[in-house]
Symmetry: C2
Subunit: 337 residues, 2 copies
């Protein structure tokens, strides 16, 4: 899922996203609640009407942003108080409020409010937190009324496998049409992340979508797919683009590098996106060096196209029963080994 933080995948139109083959687009409740406000989005016909994207959409609950962005916050049983990164104004997210806000935003999938403690928060804290998150999940389910919107639960528990199992059990007991694994990819090592995910993913109900929150590098995507994950989101492909970096089957390249100034070939000869079809590495290199809007746009388009195409290919390889071998070969080429 490409991330449209503030109701737009930075630089791209809905038409561009369709052209890139994007399936679900993600919006951030934290940002949209503060700017322009859920009331305006609702009056515009929800995020679909507001942004013009008519495909599937998912909104997070805003919990992650409260815990990662806010300087001031106070968490209690009721919810979490925080100061807006925009103007310092104080707000409180409760399970009921973030559910109502997401109903106003009107995405096809909404998420429960969860706490996402740092990996090193301590076992005691993680245990306390996951139980509160489970209580919040129950309140979210209770508050949720839109029948045309799915509400997904979130599993927490840090890097503690037994706490993950407890969180999963509590969340599945409440019952949701889909489940996310949260609180990973937040500073721990890739190995710790995969180990924890492996212990969690296999316990998730097989008939429900499994959503890993916050991964978007090509290798990471293939690694979590291998563990049974169906959905994931990350700003990485779009953020990299705005820093001049492009994804290719032979690894990530930075177009600011001097060797691209006279490279008149396409960005990725195997890619069919508008950027690779129409422009040279030399031109893209010039655009990103000059911080030109078109450079951000064209690289974003490519990185989204590339990532979506990778996922489609992975799906095809799974269907054909050759995912493991294909994935290993793909990663080895990407990592230049």
């Amino acid at each position: 899922m490409p991330v449209g933080t503030k109701g737009t995948v930075k630089g791209l139109t809905p038409g561009d996203l369709r052209g890139a083959g994007a399936g679900v687009v993600l919006g951030n409740t934290y940002h949209l609640y503060l700017r322009p406000g859920a009331d305006i989005v609702r009056e515009a016909g929800g995020l679909h009407g507001f942004s013009g994207w008519d495909g599937p959409m998912l909104t997070d609950s805003g919990g992650f942003q409260v815990f990662s962005l806010a300087k001031t916050r106070r968490i209690g049983e009721g919810g979490v108080r925080f100061a807006s990164i925009y103007d310092g104004s104080v707000h409180e997210f409760t399970p009921e409020l973030t559910t109502r806000v997401q109903e106003d935003l009107g995405a096809d999938v909404a998420m429960v409010l969860d706490e996402c403690p740092p990996a090193n928060a301590g076992r005691e804290y993680h245990a306390e937190s996951l139980r509160r998150t489970a209580r919040w999940a129950e309140r979210c389910k209770e508050a949720h009324g839109r029948e045309d919107q799915a509400l997904f639960g979130i599993v927490q528990g840090g890097l503690h496998k037994d706490l993950r199992a407890e969180s999963l059990e509590r969340t599945v007991e409440i019952g949701f049409p889909g489940y996310a694994v949260g609180g990973l990819s937040v500073g721990e090592s890739r190995g710790e992340m995969l180990e924890t995910l492996a212990a969690t993913a296999t316990l998730l109900p097989e008939a429900r979508p499994r959503y890993f929150m916050g991964i978007g590098d090509p290798v990471g995507i293939l690694q979590v797919i291998a563990l049974g994950v169906d959905m994931f989101d990350c700003v990485l492909p779009t953020r990299l683009a705005r820093h001049g970096a492009a994804l290719t089957p032979d690894g990530r390249i930075n177009l600011k590098n001097a060797r691209f100034r006279r490279d008149f070939g396409p960005l990725d000869p195997e890619c069919s996106c508008e950027t690779c079809a129409g422009y040279s590495r030399a031109y893209l290199s010039h655009l990103v060096r000059e911080d030109e809007l078109l450079g951000h746009r064209l690289l974003t388009l490519h990185n989204v196209h590339f990532t979506v195409a990778l996922c489609r290919q992975a799906r095809a390889e799974i269907s054909a029963g050759r995912f493991a071998g294909w994935s290993a070969a793909w990663i080895s080429r990407y990592e230049g080994k």
Copy 2:
């Protein structure tokens, strides 16, 4: 002519420009000479090959930027020395060099190197300067070799009608396939500009294109068309867009204004561009308030489309023999009178 300063009309692809009906796209020799360098553009197949725009193109000589941007410059009979705005490195533009650079850039129309003194530079200085500019024009013509590229002359002379007449006579005597009026729209009042232009434009050869350098507001465009001008360029429509301002038949509006936050109608109901067809003022207002790339892109697209459509309409009204009446009514609506 939309301005593609550094080889890109900021935020737009060649496809967008075609869709907006753009005819000629302008590139700035000053910037392209310094970044990425004329050699790289030449190796890429000229500006057309480099940028992917396959329609007509014009490059200026870089003279205007040297005189308006450079902190340090020294002008002599040979040319003008200046310090790059990018890194302070010292360069010299001579008539021969800017002609060769423009041949490398390979636009369909190139311009002679001219000096563009401030309006208040004094009569003596303007007289001296226009004569040097005429001598430079001769050297440019001498140096120019590409037969698939037209080289236009430039008339200077400040606000002095007799000096304008002298500059025009000297430039026409050298003989060019097209002529530009330079050194106006640089700080003098609109009235002074139009008066000087009126006295100049009527003396320009009728069978050659007349290019007014540096005007792009809708009213100004109609005013210079009324005086016989065929071509003009300005960053105004694209720069305004990046500041959140949009052109409409009822005047310029700034989408950061609070009244647009809940305005769910199109930007300009009479416009057929992608922006007006697909997005509301409320969404565009949100994007520009949040400084989103997509906001810059969509407003730029609209402003270019709007300005090009205005020029097409003006051409149709001229053909139908009703330009004066139509133009007066258009301006009066735009100015809200």
